[in-house]
């Protein structure tokens, strides 16, 4: 088979799996698990084959036009360069791990068939985005991902949190998608084609008329999808979905789609230095803000969600300094270790029966209950904190190195101010990242107090997957020497200055947090806290849903617990209150958008009820009145009717006579 055929099969197989899963889910429950896992496995193997054949060489391009559409043609096109090949392998790997993990995690869930089919559909859409060479086809995958995310976040739709979160995720990403669509049209009109290769050719020839406008419009969609400031607010709430969904969609793949999109079309953004500076500022605000917020969260998954936002900020920062190799390098390593973090968090939530770090910090020996999750999560947290030699170190240093490269004025392709912004905030965020990673680890695994509940061993599939993902988290960074061939980019080797600075700051952050924890841990015993799920023997998905639903009644807030023993509270001081609620951005949006829309809705309702309906009722009243008058003629007496008939006939006859005689 040619590489093109293989590449077409990669998104097609999970799609067929999803269709079959949705059709057969009820009638043949035995097929659901194979239908979920096998197409994803096949897609992963094929993606690896495609990557091996492409090998970082010339991009594989193939296109076919089904039907002429009038203006700018829309083609079913593939454009597989090194980026696409490697990102597809990551997507396939994480999707496979998540599907396997879900068979254990949701083993008793009655809605597992539709869940697995939606995950397959999502995988197919993401692979379509990755391989597509035509922006409209890419948009199709982009939107299918959005709707899958909506359904999967709302998997536990019995809980109000999940319902609200799914609607919020959908609306906020759509808020970005509308400008994104307009931007795509503007780009297609300017370039005369939606093909990525032709657009890049047009940009190289200077044929783009409105680069800043187009770049900013596209940026809105990317900010929505990749959860960048100011459209990031949906991601922490999306943690109400099941953990495997968070791992696949809201950590490793979908949120990376925006980064990947910019990486593909980077020359378009580079054509406007204003867009690059906006990108840098967006990245900086996102990185620093999410770091603070992560340090204040109580829900373990929300810590990871803010951490995802921050790491995506690093990738955006790398793109802002025009280094897409570093961005995609960080995307790949982050995809692996963040998926691992989420899946391990799912195991921990199941074992502890709670998603609250405050409650976990009051459990002794939780790590002994979940040894696999303990060790793999330690690896992933070290990778997240960018401690050498874990994967995150190399990818993050490549981002910082690229920023330093631009800041010191070695290159022409990105404004120096963007370099400085990304470099300084990136180094500061390294400190914050290490700090919240340490806090998470200490609170989850070094608790004091009552013995952690023992619910028996975790399902084997869940633990096995953790070790599979631990391998790239540990060793993928060493690929920094090979990757430039794939990405035709600059050397990705960490530079000495940024490495020393970054690692030093990470160590400082970790040590400061450790010190704060030693200081506050004595308080933990004095303030009892904790609520544990009602059905600890149930499957992991149910335990998690109950944990999320019970967090607000137990602690007063979804994201926040009044725990004086939290080292984050000591470190952040007065900032803690604001960081815990995401710096009140939700309240701002509530005042700016939600309340005006509600007021407008009640105005419209008033107009409809009181004004429009009055006219409608008035229009009905007159015929009703006439009808009442006419009804009086219905006496029921046949002879009256015949009399009326006779009178009418006589009148007609007289009239006819008068007309006939011409009188």
């Amino acid at each position: 088979m040619t590489t093109t055929t293989l590449a077409v099969l990669v998104p097609l197989l999970p799609f067929l799996g999803a269709a079959a899963g949705l059709l057969l889910g009820r009638t043949a429950p035995g097929f659901v698990r194979p239908l979920a896992v096998l197409p994803t496995l096949a897609a992963f193997v094929l993606a690896v084959l495609v990557a091996a054949r492409q090998g970082g060489g010339r991009a594989v391009d193939s296109a076919t036009e089904f039907t002429p559409t009038g203006s700018v043609p829309i083609e079913l096109a593939l454009h597989i360069d090194g980026f696409a090949a490697l990102v597809a392998v990551l997507v396939g790997l994480v999707a496979l791990c998540v599907q396997i993990y879900s068979t254990g995690y949701l083993r008793e869930d009655p809605r597992y068939p539709s869940y697995a089919a939606l995950v397959s559909l999502f995988t197919s859409a993401m692979l379509l985005v990755v391989y597509s060479g035509d922006l409209i086809v890419l948009l199709v995958g982009w939107e299918v991902m959005g709707i899958c995310s909506y359904f999967l976040v709302g998997h536990y739709w019995e809980t109000p949190e999940a319902r609200a979160a799914s609607i919020k995720a959908f609306l906020v990403t759509k808020l970005g998608d509308v400008p994104f669509l307009i931007g795509l049209f503007a780009l297609g009109t300017d370039a005369g084609s939606f093909r990525i290769t032709k657009i890049l050719g047009t940009v190289a020839g200077g044929g783009l008329h409105h680069p800043t406008l187009i770049a900013l419009l596209l940026l809105a969609g990317v900010a929505g999808k990749s959860a960048q400031f100011p459209l990031h607010t949906w991601l922490p709430d999306a943690m109400a979905g099941p953990t495997p969904v968070s791992a696949l969609i809201h950590a490793a793949t979908m949120v990376a789609a925006g980064i990947y999109f910019i990486a593909r079309l980077l020359p378009v953004f580079q054509a406007s230095s204003a867009a690059m500076v906006v990108l840098a500022v967006m990245a900086a605000v996102t990185m620093a803000g999410s770091g603070f917020a992560a340090l204040a969260q109580d829900d373990i998954k929300r810590v990871l969600a803010y951490s995802t936002i921050g790491q995506l900020g690093y990738m955006t920062g790398a793109l802002a300094v025009g280094e897409r190799g570093a961005a995609v390098f960080h995307l790949l390593s982050h995809g692996a270790f963040k998926a691992l973090l989420f899946l391990a968090a799912g195991v921990i939530i199941h074992a502890a029966g709670t998603n609250s770090l405050a409650a976990m910090s009051r459990m002794k020996d939780l790590r002994a209950r979940v040894p696999d999750a303990y060790w793999t999560m330690t690896v992933a947290l070290l990778a997240l904190a960018a401690i050498p030699p874990f994967a995150g170190f190399f990818s993050k240093e490549s981002v910082l190195g690229a920023a330093e490269h631009v800041a010191t004025g070695h290159t022409e392709h990105a404004p120096g101010v963007a370099g400085w912004i990304v470099l300084l905030v990136g180094l500061f965020t390294a400190l914050l990242t290490a700090s919240y990673a340490t806090r998470l680890w200490l609170l989850a695994f070094r608790g004091h107090g009552a013995e952690a509940p023992d619910h028996g061993k975790q399902p084997l599939v869940m633990n096995a997957v953790l070790w599979v993902l631990a391998v790239p988290s540990l060793a993928f960074g060493l690929a920094y020497g090979v990757l430039p061939d794939w990405f035709d980019s600059r050397d990705l080797t960490p530079t000495l200055i940024t490495s020393v600075l970054g690692t030093g700051l990470a160590l400082v952050g970790g040590l400061v947090t450790y010190g704060a924890w030693r200081h506050t841990t004595a308080l933990a015993g004095r303030v009892p806290l904790g609520a544990v799920a009602a059905h600890p023997e149930a499957d992991a998905g149910l335990v998690e849903a109950e944990a999320i639903a019970s967090h607000e009644p137990a602690y007063g807030e979804v994201a926040y617990a009044h725990d004086p023993a939290d080292p984050g509270r000591l470190l952040l001081g007065p900032l803690h209150r604001h960081a815990a609620v995401g710096f009140h951005l939700d309240a701002v949006y509530d005042a700016l958008f939600v309340r005006p829309v509600r007021a407008g809705a009640s105005l419209v309702r008033f107009l409809d009820r009181e004004v429009v309906e009055t006219y409608v009722r008035g229009a009905g009243a007159l015929p009703r009145l006439l009808g009442a008058a006419v009804r009086r003629a219905q006496t029921g007496n046949v002879q009256t009717y015949v009399s009326a008939l006779l009178a009418g006939t006589v009148v007609l006859a007289v009239a006819a006579l008068l007309v006939a005689t011409g009188a």
Binding site: R631, R632, Q634, T635, G636, Q639, L646
Partner: protein, 121 residues
């Protein structure tokens, strides 16, 4: 015979019938009046048929043929009409048209009860 005699007779018959239909209260007499009106029409048909044949404008005797039709249909009609009147009289004890006002606006329908009564009778 001049055409005017049967025509005048037909007018008289029709007016008598019309008066009966409008003024009588007994349903049987109303039916009889309807018969009178029908026969007035029959008389007209026959008279004009003859008159048209005499002037040789029409030779098919379609007027007389139509009269035969009318007589046959009138026989059927009066049969059904009398049967209905009989049934109504059995059910309600009266065949007074003034009191059969079930189709009047605002009249409470008692059709199911009437059917029940008919079934028991």
């Amino acid at each position: 015979m001049h055409l005017v005699y049967p025509a005048v007779l037909a007018v008289l018959l029709f007016s008598t019938g019309l008066y009966g239909v409008l003024a009588r209260r007994n349903a049987i007499l109303v039916l009889m009046s309807v018969e009178l009106m029908l026969n007035a029409v029959n008389l007209n048909l026959v008279a004009f048929d003859v008159w048209l044949n005499r002037t040789a404008r029409e030779t098919l005797h379609s007027g007389q043929a139509l009269t035969l039709f009318t007589i046959a249909i009138a026989a059927a009609e009066i049969g059904i009409g009398l049967a209905i009147v009989l049934a109504v009289h059995r059910n309600r004890g009266t065949s007074d048209i003034d009191r059969l006002r079930d189709t009047a606006e605002g009249h409470e329908s008692d059709a199911p009860e009437a059917e029940k009564a008919e079934a028991t009778a």
